[in-house]
Assembly symmetry: C2
Homo-oligomer: 483 residues x 2
């Protein structure tokens, strides 16, 4: 007559694919794991009665307690059920019929294009790994123990001090460290500001990042487009909208059309904010990258109580370092911190400490200088390539930033994108950046992110671009003058 449990201990041993380690310590864990796997995979079916401790222990040559503990573990987890008088069985509901499949619905990363000139990214190959690691070593070694505790919702004081100094020196920002709130980037800053601090419609430039408009839309913020002309955003239009409470500007280098905001417009925006008790949100997304002259200082310097200055390392270092900052008027600091929450600092403290050292030791300046030269050379090369191979098309906007806009003959944007795709070249058309409510004529164009590829891949990307432009617009395409 067979034992009352279906699988003999020997059989169980085989079912378990059991490979018990020689060291005593790991045996229980190994047995537990093997039993759990056998139940999961259906080798031990629901309802199956397991051998008594002593039998299995004897058969496996291990201590009875080891088996007892493994059973107890699996009972606690719900794989086994132990009932007085009826021994230990595989729980009825323990066996899922199938292994966990990989997620089918997860968006897969799209295939990498052969050439990539999409905007919005610095050259990932230029991240200063060695200098960053050295800064991390210095910073983490020197940090007080409390740095590894819950932390200040404003961000580490070391970083806020280094930022106050750097931003004053490099960008003309006027602040003290306690008006700076560290966050994880521009989008996070916008979410915090429109997550309970600011209200009411927001004026935006009629060209801008769709992602930011979407984010604001999701937060219930109505955006009102401001026209753009050769002096930048038409700040005179601000007065026409009575309910406006703020305007979001890219004064250093309009994104994406590429012009700087004229000094009169800078003053006009600040005057409007003063008169209406409104705010200027200054997105200084690539303020460090000006190639034809020294960068123009931040609008924030004109009135720190009416301008919220927003910056990040996403363009200057890498989006992989999720760090940004807000420099706030005094009256907003408390409200922003309330929304941010005392208990969720969001941004890595380790990266904050490292960036503080990176800034204070001058490595950040060095990196920016190096990238400025590199990007400038790339922009020059783009301009030359166009002059040689597509002379009817030129890069508009000032020599700055990580991208240039090419104005195309009317109606040719779609053709150019298709021709680019045919060349294996990924890039952005100009029209998706246009605010749906913009009223001025919509020029055709391309936004060329010349910072995106690594150095070695840039020449081939440019060739693909000029080939695509030739195919799409022809050598005699109408030259559209820069607006």
């Amino acid at each position: 007559m067979p034992e009352p449990w279906v699988n003999s201990a020997e059989r169980i041993g085989a079912d378990l694919h059991l490979n018990l380690p020689a060291e005593k310590g790991g045996r229980q864990a190994a047995l537990t794991r093997a039993l759990r796997e056998a139940i999961r995979e259906g080798r031990l079916a629901p309802g199956t009665r397991l051998p008594p401790y002593r039998s299995l222990a004897a058969d496996l040559g291990i201590a009875r307690n080891t088996v007892a503990s493994a059973y107890a573990e699996l009972v606690a987890e719900g794989w086994l059920a132990a009932r007085q008088g009826s021994g230990t069985r595989v729980a009825e509901r323990a066996a899922p019929p199938r292994p966990v499949p990989a997620a089918r619905k997860a968006p897969q990363a799209p295939p990498r294009p052969a050439h990539d000139l999409r905007q919005g990214q610095p050259d990932a190959a230029s991240f200063p790994r060695t200098a960053w690691l050295a800064a991390a070593r210095r910073a983490l070694t020197a940090a007080p123990h409390e740095a590894f505790g819950p932390g200040d919702p404003r961000g580490r004081i070391e970083l806020r001090r280094a930022l106050a100094e750097y931003l004053a020196r490099a960008r003309g920002v006027r602040t003290t460290p306690d008006r700076i709130v560290v966050c994880s980037g521009f989008a996070h800053a916008l979410r915090l500001l429109y997550g309970g601090v600011l209200r009411g419609p927001l004026a935006v430039e009629e060209y801008g990042l769709p992602f930011h408009r979407d984010l604001l839309g999701t937060a219930g913020v109505r955006t009102v487009p401001l026209g753009i002309d050769e002096r930048g955003a038409r700040t005179a239009e601000l007065g026409a909208h009575k309910g406006l409470r703020a305007v979001l500007l890219t004064p250093a280098h309009q994104f994406p059309t590429g012009g700087p905001l004229h000094s009169e417009r800078r003053a006009e925006a600040v005057d409007w904010a003063r008169a209406r008790r409104a705010l200027v949100l200054e997105d200084d997304y690539d303020g460090e990258f000006r190639y034809d002259r020294e960068p123009v200082g931040a609008v924030q310097g004109l009135d720190p109580e009416r301008v919220v200055y927003l910056g990040s390392v996403s363009k200057s270092l890498s989006p992989a370092v999720r760090l940004g900052w807000m420099v706030l008027p005094e009256h907003l600091v408390g409200a922003v911190l309330e929304v941010k929450g005392q208990r969720e600092a969001w941004a890595s403290v380790l990266d904050q400490l490292t960036l503080a050292d990176f800034l204070a030791s001058g490595h950040y300046d060095r990196h920016v200088r190096r990238m400025r030269q590199r990007y400038r050379a790339r922009r020059d090369r783009l301009v030359r390539a166009l002059a040689e191979s597509a002379p009817h098309i030129r890069a508009t906007g000032v020599a700055a930033g990580l991208h240039a806009v090419l104005r195309l003959p009317p109606g040719s944007e779609g053709d150019a994108l298709r021709a680019a795709a045919h060349q294996g070249l990924a890039l952005d058309g100009l029209s998706p950046f246009r605010h749906p409510g913009a009223t001025a004529p919509a020029p055709d164009g391309l936004v060329i992110g010349y910072a995106t590829p690594p150095d070695h891949a840039y020449p081939a990307a440019l060739q693909a671009l000029t080939r695509a432009l030739g195919a799409a617009t022809g050598p005699d395409g109408t030259v559209v003058p820069a607006g």
Copy 2:
């Protein structure tokens, strides 16, 4: 007769506190900075006419172009105004009357208490700096260039692979890397889930973190409290609320009352979720820290399609590393990623790469083992100190985690907190953790975060605690049996 500009070039030179560098390159920047500062601080008043380029250049002994460029810079920034025929003047609106004051409204960090036994924090002094830096060096050196690009919203594949392996091995979690979404911690995960993915009322344990309830309340989520008894959350109550779509549980170690969820309750929760097409949200906040036995595996292993597993390094390593993870049922992966956003990965990629190495190289296991021993010793010491000095009070809950609950005689919680404050001891009372809708009797108690202080400060903190308990409850206080 004086020059038509008020300040002579010489006078300007003095006003500027100008210290021109010997190298030619920095002179323009130095002059620009000095002029800007002089305007800011009111030394150059609004309307003041500046000397012509040539005069100032001659007086300062620098090139005319240098002065011209500095003026142009300040015109562009809005500090100066240049009008045809009337020279360059300090702009009328350029001079703010006062320097930027430090933010008065910013919440200042509260003064550090002499002794700190507040819950929720691992020992900040135990952060494994050296091993972490070594992992960072390996990870950042080995990472492909694209790691420094915009990245995958699910998080780095290296980390998701390491987590899938670790969570299967250490917590019995069943997953593939593409069902894992990296975030910046538990609160971020909750925000993502209730920021557009999940809807409807959520059952929670009647004791839990007020911060989480607040966060859910802000997101518009109604929370329904479940009673807790000696087997953990009363999952049978789930059936009584028809509209419930999910239940948030802390199965490994109920927070804060300290019991594990009984195996029948684990099964009951999963069965309920299956029957109702609802979800179990499993907060495995200190699942690695069990001192009396091997940790009980995650509920998620019972049904990966009905349980969302949520973990982070906030307790196991440090809240300074802002990293957490969600292990998602397949049908939620796409929706969570949509809310998370393709363009904002939130969590530092550098820390993700480092944690991946830290996990895969076994350093994480070693750190957890070390902390387990250390926290266990601290808990034992707490229990001994109570037995010796406050025998009428004992620590309830299982030997696990980073905190213990002390049940106090009825009505004495406030007295105990006041007595603790008198000893310079910061700690948490039990009552704030109670859901406002809970109906069962509300016991008095203290939540002791024995992990919080550094090793050297722990004995003194314990002494302060026992003194406070003696003062508040007296040596003959009524012993309240653990529920």
